[in-house]
């Protein structure tokens, strides 16, 4: 899941010269992920992983790193 997210983020949302070196806990918001990027990331995630991410949970804490994203998506999947 993390790899899929990473590929999408670094090919569509933010540029990074070496995505492979971007750690799972590195700060995506600092790297340039903004509100538009988050919207597109959520659309992608819901389609790719068949989950629904509730709007009340769209929070910096849930999107600030690849690990945070994965945890959020997995938790949302279990509730459905």
């Amino acid at each position: 899941m993390k790899e899929k997210l990473k590929t999408f983020i670094f090919s569509e949302l933010i540029y990074h010269e070496d995505p492979a070196s971007f750690g799972d806990d590195a700060d995506l918001l600092e790297a340039g992920l903004d509100s538009l990027g988050i919207m597109r990331l959520i659309m992608f995630t819901e389609k790719a992983f068949g989950v629904t991410l509730p709007d009340t949970e769209i929070e910096p804490d849930n999107v600030h790193s690849l690990n945070a994203l994965e945890q959020w998506i997995k938790a949302s999947g279990q509730q459905q």
Partner: protein, 477 residues
């Protein structure tokens, strides 16, 4: 002159709340007293009327104190975007030829300490009266420039006041209104908050920056503070309405929402309009040089998902016309900027008859204008205006770069993102170019894609083939 309506409010209702930021608030009377002490401090530094003064503070109560202090001293403010890398900030400070820099606390090490004025250290109020006229410069707002550097748009007291009066009338602002503010002061949107809202005696509530990425908490905040109006950018409103969260938040107090700065994609606007059936929506339009020259009060029944929304009718006493050959929008009116600020001097940009060619391609049908993109290469990225030539100039100045081209690729959510095609000397690693860019340009100017080519595609006449460059970047996996 520009502050006259605000000063009247200070005399009438000094106890009324002017500014609210988290749990801090400031009354009209206290805001005036603090601003006068800053103005006194600037006079103490020898700042003369009409001279530029940089403001090194983020959006909030302290920044308003500083901006109003600069105006009360008769000087002209240059708000800095503190998210910019230092070299870009330094070049703006240098280009503006500022006579002082207003901030809070000690001066950052990279700034000239003799120019620094700490607003917390300004206690004395012995302001000597200064005269300002409608033509006196009030603000210089730096945007991306096509010459390869940030470019200052110089706005007079009269130009900003003309827009503020018109907007206050249009929205029927009252002294009991509670208006949300999110625009940074280096954006022209902020002139509504500062002069229309505070000129009407209403209160301005700063949206905490931490809510910009949390739409549910942002709508709860608007509800909790019983906000009556807000002027912001489409991307933030689209994010707020995304997934329909607003539909569960009544927002009964919200009388109006204004948006400007980029095209609001129709599907996202329909989403917003559905969530807020009783809120009046307004599309404001115009480059920084005109502030707002055109506006459309959104007619919900006319919104259609596959049709661009109109930009409507002339605003703020502007005269508009469409250039016959190019379809370019020309504007003439009291809200026009005085010109560009270049190395400490004003360069007027108007032609003899006072028209400003906006660079926007429009059509006029049934008395209503529609926007069809830019004639030049300017991009809109996350609400910021970005000149590809400014990025190209920075890249071309790097060692190891032979040639480069920057184009915009559409962001499916809203606006565009810059993308970069490069020709490099064989030993130059792309990563080096990339990290140099991060050191020199703000994040919204960072290319979202990069490709290295043997050579850039050119047209038969030798000019760069930007269409081909764009196609290469768009198809890049």
């Amino acid at each position: 002159m520009l502050l006259q309506p605000f000063l009247q409010q200070c005399r009438r209702r000094p106890e009324a709340v002017a500014l609210v930021e988290n749990d801090r608030y400031l009354s009209y009377g206290d805001l005036l007293a603090r601003a006068q002490s800053v103005a006194t401090g600037l006079q103490g530094l020898g700042v003369q009327p009409g001279r530029p003064v940089a403001v090194h503070l983020d959006r909030g109560i302290d920044a308003v104190i500083a901006l109003f202090g600069v105006l009360l001293a008769g000087a002209c403010y240059v708000p800095l975007d503190l998210k910019n890398p230092k070299p870009r900030l330094a070049s703006i400070i240098d280009d503006a030829r500022v006579h002082a820099i207003v901030g809070l606390g000690a001066a950052p090490a990279w700034l000239a300490a003799n120019l620094w004025l700490d607003i917390a250290a300004c206690a004395e109020d012995s302001l000597k009266p200064v005269e300002t006229s409608a033509d006196t410069l009030a603000a210089i707002l730096y945007t991306s420039g096509s010459t390869g550097q940030a470019r200052g748009v110089a706005l007079s007291h009269g130009a900003i006041a003309s827009f503020a009066r018109w907007a206050a009338d249009l929205l029927a602002l009252q002294n009991n209104d509670r208006i949300a503010a999110s625009a940074p002061f280096f954006f022209d949107l902020s002139t509504f908050d500062l002069y229309a809202v505070l000129g009407a005696g209403a209160s301005l509530h700063f949206i905490p920056a931490s809510l910009n990425l949390a739409p549910a908490r942002l709508s709860a905040w608007l509800q909790h503070h019983a906000i009556n109006g807000w002027y912001t950018v489409p991307s933030l409103l689209a994010f707020l309405a995304y997934k329909g969260n607003l539909a569960q938040t009544p927002l009964e107090s919200l009388r109006f929402l204004i948006f400007a700065g980029e095209v609001f994609p129709a599907p996202a606007l329909i989403n917003l309009a559905t969530c807020l059936p009783r809120t009046a929506l307004y599309n404001f339009f115009g480059p920084t040089e005109t502030n707002v020259c055109c506006y459309w009060p959104v007619e919900r029944e006319r919104l259609s998902a596959d049709d661009n929304i109109p930009i409507g009718l002339p605003a703020a006493n502007y005269e508009l016309h469409t250039h016959d050959e190019t379809g370019e929008l020309w504007a003439r009116g009291p809200g026009l900027a005085s010109g560009y600020w270049n190395q400490g001097r004003l360069q007027p940009f108007l032609n003899e008859a006072g028209w400003y060619p906006t660079g926007d391609r429009v059509t006029l049908a049934n008395g209503e204008y529609r926007f069809h993109g830019r004639l030049g290469r300017m991009l809109k990225c996350s609400g910021y205006r970005v000149e590809p030539a400014e990025i190209e100039a920075v890249v071309n100045a790097m060692t190891g770069v032979i040639d480069c081209a920057v184009v915009g690729i559409d962001d499916p959510a809203a606006g565009q993102r810059p993308a970069l095609a490069l020709v490099l000397e064989s030993q130059t690693p792309l990563a080096e170019i990339r990290s140099a860019l991060i050191r020199q340009l703000p994040s919204y100017m960072q290319p979202v894609r990069c490709i290295v080519l043997e050579q850039l595609p050119r047209l038969p006449n030798g000019k760069l083939d930007y269409r081909q460059v764009r196609a290469l970047l768009e198809t890049q996996p």
